[in-house]
């Protein structure tokens, strides 16, 4: 199983590189972990422009002039975990809701009508509301409507992931939130999620179950983003070696300071986020990089083609929010409020092709 | 008795076991591996490998190769 490197070691490795190390990494075709460390280091900050150019060229070569689009459906905001940073945390006095199968279909129909072919099913982590049977039922109802259905819910066993794959789920995202074991303990106050190792081993279970794609990531705003980036590189490297026929993606959920909410422990600027995205693109030319509507319109417009390969669009993060715009209990407030059409127009105006369908679940055969 | 050794059928006198055959052929038992009627005789078991009329024997050893 993957052994996450000591976070203190990672933290020191991303401080020491020099400008020479950065230049060497920029000149390489196949980067190693120490090159990734160099690109994540403060020494790389003056090279952000060169990194952007390299990243854009690699992304263009590997993915072409395309950007994939998806939308999330929030199934439930029930959660048994107490996570200091999350809007769904069990302590929070928000209106809780778990969509019925009919309600899920209604939300899905709205997204389908808007043109979405790829949806991401998201929920809080509460077995009592969303379990494998519920997910299976949802998947079976949606499978013929969408080309791809991904999930971002609580970690499950390999057997459960196999059942969901069979039911038509194509991909699973599960973020470590932070690779810093000590900090992880501090912010995950209670609930199943407080088991660092079980969560860390989840991407491997997903891949083992035969899912086509596995998403990993860290919540930006908890530990030092540079060290998180290096930890992601380690994790990605390991996953690629173990599961060579699985596709991998990295997401970059970035916490923003907001009144009355959890104050980020670290401020991650747009420049920082960009450096992280470029560094990972240079490190792994084939990994999918996802930027959600947490980021603002201006940022997402600017980053198009520079490294990210997939955007969400027209997102609502409260259960039932597409059908009823008054729905309460959202996970986070979005930064880009444009509709799918508006995002598609922007993408086309930049000379790229918005891709809503990258795969047909119909071709998926389970073993 | 008649034995087919490495593809050649020959008449052998006074032999009962694989060990006897190797001695007759001037081969050191520890340098070869023997397949008797398509079954490999484990080294050290040559004494107990009894031969019979018409048996097939392959005597094999390592040679140079890449």
């Amino acid at each position: 199983m993957f052994q996450s490197p000591n976070f203190q070691t990672l933290s020191s490795e991303i401080i020491t590189p020099t400008a020479t190390d950065v230049e060497r990494a920029l000149d390489k075709d196949r980067l190693q972990l120490h090159d990734l460390a160099a690109l994540l280091s403060p020494a790389a900050e003056p090279y952000l422009q060169q990194m952007a150019v390299r990243s854009a060229n690699i992304t263009l070569k590997r993915f072409g002039r395309t950007t994939q689009l998806y939308a999330p459906i929030y199934l439930s905001n029930y959660c048994t975990n107490r996570c200091a940073y999350c809007g769904f945390s069990a302590d929070n006095l928000i209106k809780r809701k778990c969509l019925t199968l009919e309600e899920v279909e209604k939300e899905a129909a709205i997204l389908h009508d808007r043109g979405f072919q790829h949806i991401l099913l998201v929920s809080g982590e509460a077995e009592s509301a969303v379990d494998v049977e519920y997910m299976e039922a949802v998947a079976l109802r949606l499978r013929n409507k969408f080309a791809a259905v991904s999930i971002e819910i609580q970690p499950m066993s390999t057997e459960h992931y196999m059942r969901l794959f069979e039911a038509g789920i194509t991909a699973v995202a599960v973020y470590q939130e932070t690779y810093d074991r000590d900090l992880y303990k501090q912010v995950h106050l209670s609930g199943k999620k407080s088991d660092y190792d079980y969560r860390l081993e989840t991407p491997a279970r997903v891949a083992q179950a035969g899912m086509r794609e596995v998403g990993i990531g860290a919540l930006l705003g908890l530990a030092d983003w540079r060290a998180e980036g290096l930890a992601i590189g380690h994790h990605l490297n390991w996953l690629r070696k173990e599961f060579w026929s699985t596709a991998f993606t990295v997401s970059f959920p970035r916490m923003r300071p907001a009144a009355g909410e959890f104050e980020p422990l670290q401020l991650v600027s747009e420049r920082n986020l960009s450096q992280l995205i470029f560094a990972l693109r240079l490190f792994d030319q084939d990994v999918g990089l996802i930027v959600s509507t947490r980021e603002e319109e201006r940022y997402r417009n600017g980053m198009l083609g520079l490294g990210p390969t997939r955007y969400s669009a027209g997102s609502c993060t409260a259960p039932g929010g597409y059908g009823d715009s008054d729905s309460e209990g959202e996970q986070f407030s979005v930064g880009d409020h444009r509709s799918l059409d508006e995002v598609c127009t922007m993408i086309r105006n930049k000379g790229f092709d918005p891709v809503c369908k990258d795969w047909d679940r119909e071709f998926q055969i389970s073993n | 008795m008649n034995l087919t050794v490495n593809g050649n059928t020959k008449l052998f006198q006074d032999i009962k076991t694989v060990t006897d055959l190797l001695i007759t052929l001037n081969l050191e038992p520890e340098t070869v591996v023997v397949e008797h009627n398509t079954t490999i005789i484990q080294p050290g078991s040559f004494d107990s490998a009894h031969l019979a009329e018409g048996d097939q024997v392959e005597i094999i050893r390592f040679v140079g190769g890449g």
Binding site: - | L25, N26, G66
Partner: protein
């Protein structure tokens, strides 16, 4: 140190023992190469010349013997040879070769994979000789191969690592050691493979048919060591400066102006 199936090797040069002019030249060349792993083949004893014994010339305990299944044309034949080899050597090391085409002696990927699956079940330490196909390398690895041995060029051609583009991918992806086998005709070829990050190289013809095989063996030892040291040291990259026509220059520095 190179580790294959739990065994450590100080030397990253493996030697084939074929085509030498005499057993004594072979033994001396192998000694000069400082290698620890030698390949051998299995053949019927020549009953007219029973003294021709390679093991005697080499000394059984100085080397790890890697018997091959050369001559096998399919998985079935290879498996039979493998079991004979194990009986003869008393060890489970095996270089799996399945070469149905006598002209090119190129390995059959399908039969090699089938044989690997079976031989791993039978407890062998399988090192399959294979074409430099990255997906095949991963499939063989998944089947339990202890290392993979992609070819640099068809065997005996001395052409070097013509498959470098594919071998590089194999090295990048494989979890098991990668031993570049076949086609290595000069010490510079061996060094090149090692610089790329190969874990070891296997050389035979280039040494056995050299004017002075013993001196050539020593030259290969140095080349392999130099290549390995260079790889570990971190090679400089070939410069990208020459590609002025690339679109890299087309992007203006103001393009990141959108950042807050």
């Amino acid at each position: 140190m190179l580790t294959i199936a739990g065994t450590e090797f100080r030397s990253r040069l493996f030697l084939g023992t074929g085509k030498f002019s005499s057993p004594s030249v072979m033994a001396e060349a192998i000694a000069a190469s400082d290698c620890q792993m030698v390949t051998v083949a299995l053949r019927r004893v020549n009953l007219d010349d029973p003294d021709d014994d390679i093991m005697k010339a080499l000394g059984l305990h100085d080397y790890t013997f890697l018997p091959n299944t050369s001559g096998a044309r399919d998985a079935k034949e290879a498996i039979r040879l493998a079991h004979l080899a194990r009986a003869a050597s008393g060890s489970s090391w095996l270089k799996l070769e399945v070469t149905p085409d006598p002209r090119t002696l190129l390995p059959d990927p399908v039969e090699t994979l089938l044989a690997t699956e079976q031989l791993v079940k039978d407890g062998f330490i399988v090192l399959p000789y294979m074409n430099a196909d990255p997906i095949l390398a991963l499939r063989l690895q998944d089947a339990g191969a202890a290392a993979v041995m992609p070819l640099g060029a068809p065997i005996g051609t001395n052409q070097g690592v013509l498959t470098d583009f594919q071998v590089e991918i194999i090295i990048e992806q494989a979890k098991v050691p990668v031993v570049v086998d076949a086609g290595i005709g000069a010490p510079s070829h061996a060094a090149y493979a090692m610089e790329m990050g190969a874990d070891a190289v296997l050389v035979n013809t280039a040494i056995s048919v050299a004017g002075d095989p013993i001196a050539m063996a020593a030259a290969f030892a140095k080349a392999v060591e130099a290549g390995r040291t260079a790889f570990v040291a971190g090679m400089g990259q070939k410069s990208k400066q020459a590609s002025a026509s690339s679109p890299e220059s087309g992007m203006l520095s103001s393009d990141l102006g959108f950042l807050n």
